[in-house]
């Protein structure tokens, strides 16, 4: 219908109209500018806040996910025997391979064993079977020596890590690497030392001696249907729900559960903090959205007003364009495009100002929003909103222009 020259010319015309009436255009788009600048600034601030809060949550392990075996409620024991519901290394391998939301994962199983060093003997110590990811998941680093390697795990080598309490209790040197321990009568090489957990906000304080051995070895040392659980870390605290559903899907498939059958496991995540924060953020977003909505409405009315003025100022031009063959649709498009262009120019200025606000927020030390930034989607969304405002509020003047009678329009003084 309308040829490409029309579009190029119409956009050029719209820009030249805006340029020819600089002051008027600027004042008209002020509403749009304020609206877009404030929405970009608020989004930037929220992103800064979110990054900060999420980092803080991560520091106390809010992005951990736990998987336990669990018998379905009210299900008869003979239908779901322990052998069927217990977690296995097949389960944990499947989860590790199929859940992209997870950053780290480890199976955990505990065995009580006697321990003997050159100097001391302890009757029962908790020996924990783990994967190397355990350190990341539990945020307990290896402070001397090295963590387990792939070879240790694959070959179930008789190596172990000890914590600081165990070093003290067993009278090992400050760096216990290279020492040997008798664990349940077997000789283990100590490869490193793990820091003792000080006090966790979940009320678990670890002061007693702990010894860690490769999970594959712990598997061998236990009876057939031993108990194990899985602890994993999501890539971000926000991903708890996604991680849960990925794990659930993977486990149900691995275990061959039919549709309609209940889960034979339970997945828990500490996500109530995230949920609370999300509610707070949603509240802020809603308030900001309301303010932005109002300023865009006001801005839109300004646009409509100025477009009506423009239509009546240019009545003769419209008449002439119609006389040389412009269809009503072409006139409508021209004025609509002009309104949209005006709004987009306003949006552009608004985004630029919002960006400045974001920089200022990030630099301001009291605000503590170092991560404040305007994400690309917010910029795109702002432009989309501006275009919508242009179309909505430009429509009435454009329709008015398109319906002008060419004869009356040409006679207009």
């Amino acid at each position: 219908m309308l040829n490409p020259i029309f579009w190029i010319q119409a956009i050029g015309l719209a820009l030249s109209q805006i340029w020819a009436n600089k002051t008027r255009s600027f004042l008209t788009t002020l509403g749009i500018i304020v609206g877009v600048a404030s929405v970009t600034a608020v989004i930037a601030a929220l992103i800064g806040l979110k990054t900060k809060v999420l980092t803080e949550f991560e520091s106390f392990g809010a992005n951990r996910v736990f998987v336990f075996p669990s018998r379905p409620n009210n299900a008869p024991r003979n239908l779901y025997p322990w052998e069927r519901i217990r977690l296995t290394s097949t389960d944990v391998t499947a989860i590790a391979e199929n859940c992209p939301s997870l950053r780290a994962i480890t199976p955990v199983t505990e065995i009580g064993l006697s321990v003997e060093s050159n100097r001391e003997r302890l009757e029962t110590v908790n020996a924990v079977g783990i994967w190397p990811d355990w350190h990341e998941v539990e945020r307990r680093a290896v402070i001397a020596g090295r963590p387990f390697s792939k070879v240790d795990i694959d070959n179930a080598r008789q190596v172990c890590l000890v914590n600081e309490s165990a070093v003290a209790e067993l009278g090992l040197p400050n760096d216990p690497t290279g020492e040997h321990l008798l664990l349940g009568g077997r000789r283990f090489l100590v490869v490193g030392m793990v820091e003792t957990l000080q006090a966790s906000i979940f009320g678990r304080s670890v002061q007693q001696s702990e010894i860690f051995i490769p999970f594959s070895l712990a598997e061998k040392l236990q009876e057939r249907n031993f108990f194990m659980r899985i602890t994993a870390l999501t890539r971000s605290p926000e991903l708890a729900d996604e991680a849960k559903s990925e794990i659930r899907y993977t486990l149900r498939r691995t275990r061959g559960l039919e549709a309609g059958e209940p889960d034979t496991f339970q997945i828990e995540a500490i996500d109530q903090y995230i949920t609370q924060f999300k509610a707070l953020a949603a509240g802020i977003t809603a308030i900001a959205g309301g303010i932005v909505g109002i300023s865009l409405l006001v801005g839109g009315i300004g646009i409509m007003n100025i477009m009506l003025v423009s239509v009546s100022e240019r009545t003769r031009e419209i008449g002439l364009r119609k006389a040389v063959g412009a269809t009503p649709a072409a006139i409508l498009m021209q004025f609509l495009l002009e309104a949209v262009t005006l709004c987009l120019v306003g949006g552009f200025i608004g985004v630029a100002i919002g960006q400045l606000f974001a920089f200022a927020l990030a630099k301001l030390p009291q605000a503590q929003l170092e991560q404040a930034e305007v994400p690309p989607w917010a910029v795109l969304m702002s432009f989309a909103f501006c275009a919508v405002v242009g179309v909505v509020f430009g429509m009435f003047p454009a329709i008015k222009a398109s319906r002008l009678d060419p004869i009356d329009a040409l006679r207009h003084e």
Binding site: N3, P4, I5, F6, Q9, S16, A20, R316, E317, G319, L320, R321, K322, A323, V324, G325, A326, T327, P328, A329, A330, P406, I407, L410
Partner: protein
């Protein structure tokens, strides 16, 4: 026939009153004619021009333009007909003030169906400007041009799409007599080149340049005569003499 009007009527409603602007006009105009439509104000000549120019639809009657029944068309189709078949020249030029002469001339191509790209478009506009003798004013804006030059730009715009009819509404109403002669000379030149021209005017002197004069009164055709048989015909010799004098003066100046 290029144009065939059959029993055209046009009724306007002003408040409760009905105004009969045209009361049954039948008119045929052939290709390459140069016709003046005359009448005092209120005679219906503007309405007739609007109908001829497809700006307005008649209340009754048929209008055949170049073999197509225009009187039955909708707004979109009429716009296309105006774009392709009709070139308008107005009393007050109607140029877009911020655009150059060339851009003003190009305007109809913007609304053309399947117009060519940049270069061919530019070439056509330049050709049209050349035909009206303004090849050296291409980048001037209307406020940098004299009245006569502005009207020439408007004429270039009108002939750009090689229209079936060049329709001029009081084309010299805003011009002094020397410029009027110049513009009418241009119309005659275009006419010699084969252009069909209809000039709406109330000045005998302007009408004397045409071959045929249609006079309207009270919405009806009063007379439709070759120019020599019309009362304006007595001016023809005078007009020819003045045109010859202008041409001679121009030749002497060069």
């Amino acid at each position: 026939m290029l144009i065939a009007l059959r029993d055209i009527t046009k009724v306007y409603r002003v408040g409760v009153e009905e105004v009969h602007a045209l009361r049954g006009v039948s008119l045929s105009i052939g290709s390459n004619e140069m016709v003046a439509i005359m009448g005092s104000s209120g005679s219906g000549k503007s309405t007739l021009m609007n109908v001829l120019g497809c700006l307005d639809r008649p209340t009754g009657g048929d209008y055949l333009l170049d073999g197509r029944t225009v009187s039955a068309m909708g707004a979109g189709e009429l716009a296309a007909v105006r774009n392709e078949k009709i070139g308008f020249v107005f009393q007050s030029f109607e140029l877009l003030p911020r655009q150059t002469a060339l851009q003003n001339v190009e305007l109809p191509l913007i609304y053309a169906r399947g117009a060519g790209w940049g270069r061919s478009r530019r070439r056509r506009a330049l050709e049209a400007l050349e035909r009206v003798g303004l090849a050296n004013r291409v980048t001037h804006r209307p406020n940098q041009l004299s009245g006569g030059q502005r009207q020439r730009v408007a004429i270039a715009r009108a002939i750009l799409n090689r229209p079936a009819i060049l329709l001029a509404d009081e084309p010299t109403g805003n011009l002094d007599s020397a410029t009027t002669a110049e513009i009418l000379g241009l119309f005659r030149q275009l006419h010699r080149e084969g252009q069909t021209i209809i000039i709406v005017t109330h000045e005998d002197e302007v009408a004397a340049h045409c071959q045929r004069i249609v006079r309207l009164r009270d919405g009806r055709i009063l007379s439709d005569l070759p120019v020599r048989e019309d009362s304006a015909g007595r001016l023809v010799d005078e007009v020819e003499a003045r045109l010859a004098a202008t041409a001679a003066a121009k030749a002497a100046a060069c």
